[in-house]
């Protein structure tokens, strides 16, 4: 979901008219733009939580997906015993999945308890 491939014109340059993944949307709208003086603004708790958590989420989604991708590519390029490959591949997928669920929780903070129980 977060890092969907966009329409490609070439493999060295990908073009998209608008951000599609969650991390990219947050990157555009979250802390850039015309800031109104703090004393006039109303603080909305749900939004405060989002702006704090999202920074962490953006960083970890990117990093986890990067590692997962790198490890997966290595698995393809090297011819090691299958057992090791499977362990590596599985580990990275788990990490990426964890990061994406973290992102969802940040958007709907009320869900986090439910998620913990279901694990």
């Amino acid at each position: 979901m977060a890092v969907a491939q966009r329409g490609t014109a070439s493999n060295y340059l990908q073009r998209a008219p608008s951000p599609s993944g969650l991390a990219d949307v947050l990157d555009v709208i979250l802390d850039k733009g015309l800031v109104i003086d703090a004393f006039v603004r109303v603080s909305v708790i749900g939004i405060e939580i989002l702006t704090i958590d999202a920074r962490i989420v953006i960083a970890s989604v990117d990093t986890y997906l990067r590692f997962a991708e790198a490890v997966n590519r290595l698995d393809l390029a090297q011819s090691q015993p299958a057992g090791i490959d499977e362990l590596r591949g599985g580990g990275s997928q788990e990490k990426a999945k964890g990061a994406l669920e973290g992102a969802k929780e940040a958007i709907t903070p009320g869900d986090s308890k439910k998620k913990e129980r279901s694990r």
Partner: protein
């Protein structure tokens, strides 16, 4: 619920500022599903929607509604967007504490942004190609790599040293490459802001360029040329035309391109 007849003031969500007289897109649903409206004062107008008082849970759809609303307004007008989550206590507050004291500055900001769009550019190394290059160009790294390969699992400290060397060589390349990317693209843009803090291992450059709408073709030519030239090592991503979010600021210093 009409704001004029309720006892407590109706909070409003603010999307951004446009020139007075701007026609709003029809049937755009804003944050929390509320319709957009315009609050005009003295040549400028705030695009707002009513915001539910009390406990508010942000949903993904609200993020998308914010972006879509700003984009749809931007499709027809110059807009200086606010960050997601800008909420003011009432319509009266928007007028008295935002538009009235800042009308002059806001009009100047809108003049600067008129006819411009924002293009977001990201570049990162293609992992295998860049690692191969670093090994080929650096005798010490190549030697160390032979050693770690020969030692296998026993090469714990050598592996750390190898990774450390590669990281520092990558950092040096990144600094050079990021400066080149920004310089080449800036030549086709009015101004730019880049984000040098992005420490993701293969990220090289992340920045926003303010480009005249009529010069978009020239900007894309420069970008495509640069990306093609560096296609052996770099992968580029460009998003836009976007509303000029990263350039909608009243702070002095960032207005240098005016």
């Amino acid at each position: 619920m009409s704001a004029n007849h309720t006892s407590s003031p109706q909070p409003v969500y603010v999307y951004g500022v446009v020139p007075a007289g701007t026609a709003l897109p029809h049937e755009t649903q804003g944050v929390a599903g509320r319709p957009l409206e315009l609050l005009e004062r003295d040549g400028v107008a705030a695009v707002v929607s009513e915001f539910p008082a009390g406990d508010f849970r942000v949903r993904r759809s609200d993020l998308q509604a914010h972006l879509r609303s700003v984009e749809q307004v931007f499709a027809q007008a110059t807009v200086a967007p606010c960050p997601f989550g800008t909420v003011l206590g009432s319509r009266a507050d928007v007028a008295a504490h935002f538009l009235d004291p800042r009308a002059g500055e806001l009009r100047m900001l809108l003049e600067r942004l008129e006819g411009h769009v924002q293009m977001n550019v990201k570049a990162e190394y293609e992992e295998e190609a860049i690692l191969r290059d670093v090994v080929a160009e650096d005798a010490e790294i190549a030697r160390l790599r032979e050693r770690t390969k020969a030692l296998g699992a026993a090469a714990y400290y050598e592996n750390i040293r190898l990774g450390e060397l590669i990281t520092s060589r990558l950092a040096a390349r990144r600094a050079t490459d990021a400066a080149e990317i920004e310089a080449r693209l800036s030549a086709a843009a009015a101004t730019s802001v880049s984000d040098p803090e992005d420490a993701a291992q293969l990220a090289v450059f992340k920045g926003s360029f303010l480009v005249e709408r009529r010069a978009l073709g020239a900007f894309d030519d420069v970008l495509d040329g640069l990306a093609a030239e560096r296609s052996a090592q770099l992968r580029f991503e460009v998003t836009g035309p976007l509303p000029p979010v990263a350039f909608a600021t009243l702070e002095p210093g960032v207005q240098a391109w005016a």
